[in-house]
Symmetry: C2
Subunit: 616 residues, 2 copies
């Protein structure tokens, strides 16, 4: 083979995972190539035009703290910003932004083009090259060969992607795009392949919506954003695809409303009458779909008692009439989609621009991966994103970032970065993936994090920025910004601890549930809202947080006990048969991971701990 | 079949032809549906990011005068404007604009979304429905059915599109996109299908170009634009994809330079050494390519004596680093492309974002069409664009506009609009297509127009605006604008005829070759440059133009002699055998058309004229 150039890291796929992987590896100094089916579809949002939301919004903040690009890109191209669950507990609050879909993707394409050390190129990867037990490169379907010391595969829903609508099917990872047979190659290399599915609602033309019949949902002012470094958006709208602008200490966004309407009994009747025509219901799809993200068919069947379901009409961009019909994911035939939409107030005359559909695709069960996201079978082959059985842009981006960093580190001979469950949702995500076999596409929820009180959006930077600096993925500008913020928080804490009113320190006042930041003396009112919210939360919940930290420390002892690679679970006396099989199959890296494998119980853990102490 | 809605006109394909067809039909009041493979690729420029140029720029002005959208869209999204051949004769001058590729397409998508009577939808048309000898509708590959009274097929390079690079092939009408088997359906309906090919150069990353080693080619100030109604761009950059702005009686464009460099003997050597690896040269491609638009392989072989070839580096947009390497169309393997590019000054370190390739595709020889662009075989089935064997955005758009107008007229029972060869390049284009079998993709040249002195860019509106008004495709605003311009021109002509200097009228002065507009008295200097150029040309060439008009009138008599549909060429006594066959095959509509069919000579025409007079 004659290689054109040997790259350190090659990333396959320019979705949310691939972009973060490529940028992260390049930032740490590697020579990186990103190959993707369509350069114009880089970072395309396959489904809803929004980033963040409960739990996911915290992932986005964490990605930002580690030097990733998703947060700032959402801030730059957002057209509506809200903080979800503002009235609920701190652990379930999270920012969410509607974004301009095209601006989001073309801004990221431009960033990829301009990033030093990163080459991007259009191409469809057909084969991987493996020598011994490690990857050496790959070949595209037009016979182009590239050598790479490490590969990150982030091919999303495209592996043998099959689109379903009614009784019809077409190959494709997304409507109007191609698919890839690369999963068959992965299978040949010994990886196990499974099948999942997901769905998307129709997009309709805003010109044909009667907005007067819908409720308006405005964005929040000031807009709750994601990124620590909003001020990097100074250039603002001089960049074609940067819609928003930092100027005069303020972030300027021209927000657009979303619209709310509801299905009717007529809608449900049409759907029920045509259930047998739905791809999801007629038994054609083998892949398993996400229960937590039901299609409208599912909702009508599973919640038969509900009189109506909420529908959000979300603009897909500032300069398009395209609207996303959130809540109406469907694989019914087009004529049925068209008919049931028209029974919804405001949509009586709506015209569908792109019909809804379901897509079925191959994935690689992630229990075949190490916590670094490297495959256990093949050295320096990393997998990230939807290919690992997850669903969602944020879950994909988080994995992409870690896989990119770890691929780069593996090339430099550095140990992988693995975040703990008590450090980040990213830690929870990856730990869940590599230890627990999934039954449906995996999505992040706050309930998955046992330490969610310490994993908040307001402290993502506190938790992770130092790690980002350490691994070299945070720019100097961001490090400086973070250090300044850290100093500011410390100074404010000192002030709060020193200043007193009515015999108590301000710190003590703030611990009282009914005392808010705005009840502090005047000088504190000008504190940046983000910092005020963070301090208020840390102080008010200080008791709970301290207890949580203690518990974390206790678990850590076990968590960190490494299970050596030579350990043969078959030969450990006293393990139950089921535990043996699961352990041997998944090969957890630590005792903590072993504890989270379904089928491994506390007795098995005790046996393991003893075995470890004995040295076998 | 259960139709969802019966449309008047359905357009298949959202390329340059399809968009004009759909908008034109909708503007004249028809209910229109536009179906296309990918909504995000509406009006995508498959090859170079520019509109206009010699002859083509005149087509664009004509499209504008008839109410089409290409001219204004190029003005709105242009990043470099130039008037080609400014120093040469008036008939070869023409405007050309580099456009921001993504802005160009997404602005048109937004226009389509907002146009009344026009529905657009993503879908791949798989079958046509025909009843008797006329179309009734179509079915997509996902089984969606639509009824339409007339269909316009504008599927470009996508019919069994096959992409070639080196020895490899992949289906696709453009790299990274799908292809369509619809040509097999057309064949089943009795249409003849042929095969053509075209090619495109690599796109490279501007970050990796050494611009200091290239010559800069700036745009002209003020920018020579296309559209009569620049002032409709008042909104300007408030629209995300409208880059330029009409403000204070001026058109504001932030122009970007192109860059010029040259191939070297080393480049030629590499290409020669690898010729056997080129898809075009290894005999894999059956389709015929355009000789006038040679690949770099062609150039190196056919012009072996040339030491170097000029290469233009053209930016693909204002906010991307992507550059189009104009002059380097190639189907060599990627490694060879990469190697030869790196021997070109400025490109020593260049990185390819998208490799060049050739594409082979099915087309329908357009001699199967009436001059309205309706097929002779199947009623109300119109074909326009690359499917008719042409090449180029402007050629496609011109046909699309006429096919859309004529499809709409056929639905309303109105006679088709057919432009004469002396009225417009559009007339020349369509007349050539329907009368002369092609051997390679057809492209417009000034040499194709026998009356090119009257078919200039500066009088396109004079020639066609009244027709545009008459057929209802010009908005009231544009009609008003045109009438004001017409009045202004007439008034100026009067002034020039009345005012005298040194005993001659200013009109007479202007006829002198060495007397320029700026030599007129001061008050005339403030005349709008477009109008001044038009008048100067009309007056200076008045003699030639008058002679040309006379000749046109003489030919017209014959041109307009209709050949009735019942005429059986086999039974006309005295026709040569070759003429009989050609006439029966092509069935020209007028004696003028018959005259332009290769193989039909003056004697045959005389025979035909006599036969017509006799009534058989
Ligand atoms: C129809 C649909 C509905 C969805 N609905 C939801 C939902 O309701 N909720 C939710 O959270 N998520 C949903 N998703 C999932 C969401 O889009 C993904 O989770 C997310 O985009 C995954 O990111 P990724 O980077 O892993 O993959 P993707 O975004 O899919 O990107 C994969 C990339 O890999 C490229 N690629 C593929 N194969 C190759 C190859 N062989 N060579 C080179 N490049 C290749 C593709 O071009 C693409 O750029 C949906 C996705 C689809 C398609
Ligand atoms: C690789 C390449 C190189 C080229 N090089 C040159 C050049 O050097 N010079 C030049 O002048 N021209 C060149 N061209 C040609 C130029 O791009 C075309 O002339 C022009 O785009 C034709 O416009 P069109 O509207 O006819 O078709 P296209 O622009 O090709 O648009 C066709 C549209 O039809 C849609 N479509 C296709 N099939 C279906 C279906 N079954 N159902 C629904 N929609 C469908 C597609 O999605 C697409 O939107 C090149 C084209 C290609 C692909």
């Amino acid at each position: 083979m004659h290689w054109l150039k040997e790259y350190d890291v090659i990333v396959v796929g320019g979705g949310h995972a691939g972009v973060e992987a490529a940028l992260a590896a390049a930032r740490t100094g590697c020579e990186v190539l990103l190959l993707t089916l369509q350069l114009d579809a880089i970072a395309q949002m396959s489904c809803n035009p929004s980033i963040g939301g409960v739990a996911k919004g915290i992932l986005v903040r964490e990605i930002d703290a580690l030097g990733g690009v998703m947060a700032q890109n959402a801030d730059a191209t957002g057209i509506q910003f809200r903080m979800l669950n503002r009235r609920k507990g701190p652990s379930v609050q999270a920012p969410r932004a509607q974004c301009d879909k095209k601006a989001y993707q073309f801004r990221l394409k431009a960033i990829c083009e301009s990033t030093p050390n990163l080459d991007i190129q259009q191409g469809s990867v057909a084969r991987l090259c493996v020598k011994g037990d490690a990857v050496t490169g790959l070949v595209t379907d037009l016979g182009i060969e590239f050598a790479g010391k490490a590969l990150v595969i982030t091919t999303g829903t495209f592996l043998r992607g099959l689109i379903h609508m009614g009784s019809e099917q077409r190959p494709g990872g997304r409507a109007g795009e191609g698919s890839s047979g690369l999963s068959l190659e992965l299978k040949k290399l010994g990886l196990e392949i499974g099948r999942l599915k997901t769905g998307t609602p129709p997009r309709i033309n805003g010109r044909t919506i009667d907005f007067a019949a819908c409720e308006q949902q405005p964005g929040e002012v000031p807009p709750p954003t994601f990124s620590l470094c909003l001020d990097e958006l100074e250039g603002g709208d001089e960049e074609l695809f940067t819609l928003n602008r930092w100027d005069g200490q303020m972030f300027h966004v021209e927000q657009q409303p979303c619209w709310i309407t509801y299905t009717t009994s007529e809608t449900h009747q049409i759907i029920r009458d045509n259930l047998h025509l739905s791809a999801m219901y007629s038994g054609q799809i083998q892949g398993v779909g996400p229960r937590y993200c039901p299609s409208i068919e599912d909702k009508v069947v599973r919640f038969a008692e509900r009189e109506r379901h909420q529908i959000f009409l979300e603009p897909e961009g500032r300069h398009t009439q395209e609207f996303y019909v959130n809540g109406c994911s469907t694989s019914l035939p087009f004529s049925v989609q068209s008919a049931f939409l028209r029974t919804i107030p405001g949509l009586e005359k709506c015209h569908i621009l792109r019909p809804g559909y379901a897509v079925e695709y191959d994935y690689c069960p992630a229990t075949q991966l190490l916590p670094s996201l490297e495959t256990k079978q093949i050295g320096r082959l990393f997998l990230a994103g939807q290919i690992n059985g997850t669903s969602g842009y944020e879950e994909a981006a988080a994995q992409g970032l870690m896989a990119g960093l770890n691929a780069a580190r593996s090339v430099r001979g550095e140990p992988p970065i693995v975040l703990r469950r008590d450090q980040a949702y990213i830690g929870v995500l990856i730990d869940d993936l590599v230890t627990r076999p999934i039954r449906e596409p995996y999505r992040m929820f706050t309930a998955r994090a046992e330490h969610r009180l310490v994993l908040r959006h307001d402290n993502a930077d506190v938790r992770l920025s130092d790690i980002g600096s350490m691994v070299g993925s945070l720019s100097i500008r961001r490090q400086t910004k973070w250090l300044a913020k850290k100093r500011r928080v410390e100074e404010l804490l000192e002030d709060l601890n020193e200043a007193k009113t009515e015999g108590r320190t301000l710190f003590e006042w703030l611990r009282r549930p009914d005392f808010r930041w705005m009840d502090l003396p005047q000088p504190f009112h000008s504190v940046e809202p983000e910092i005020a919210a963070h301090l208020e939360c840390e102080i008010k919940y200080a008791g709970y947080i301290a207890r949580e930290r203690e518990q974390i420390e206790r678990v850590r002892a076990m968590e960190d006990l490494l299970l050596p690679a030579w350990l043969d679970f078959w030969s450990v006396v006293g393990l139950k048969q089921e535990a043996r099989e699961k352990l041997q199959q998944i090969r957890p890296a630590t005792l903590g991971q072993a504890a989270r494998i379904p089928g491994v119980n506390p007795t098995d853990l005790a046996v393991l701990r003893i075995a470890l102490k004995r040295g076998a």
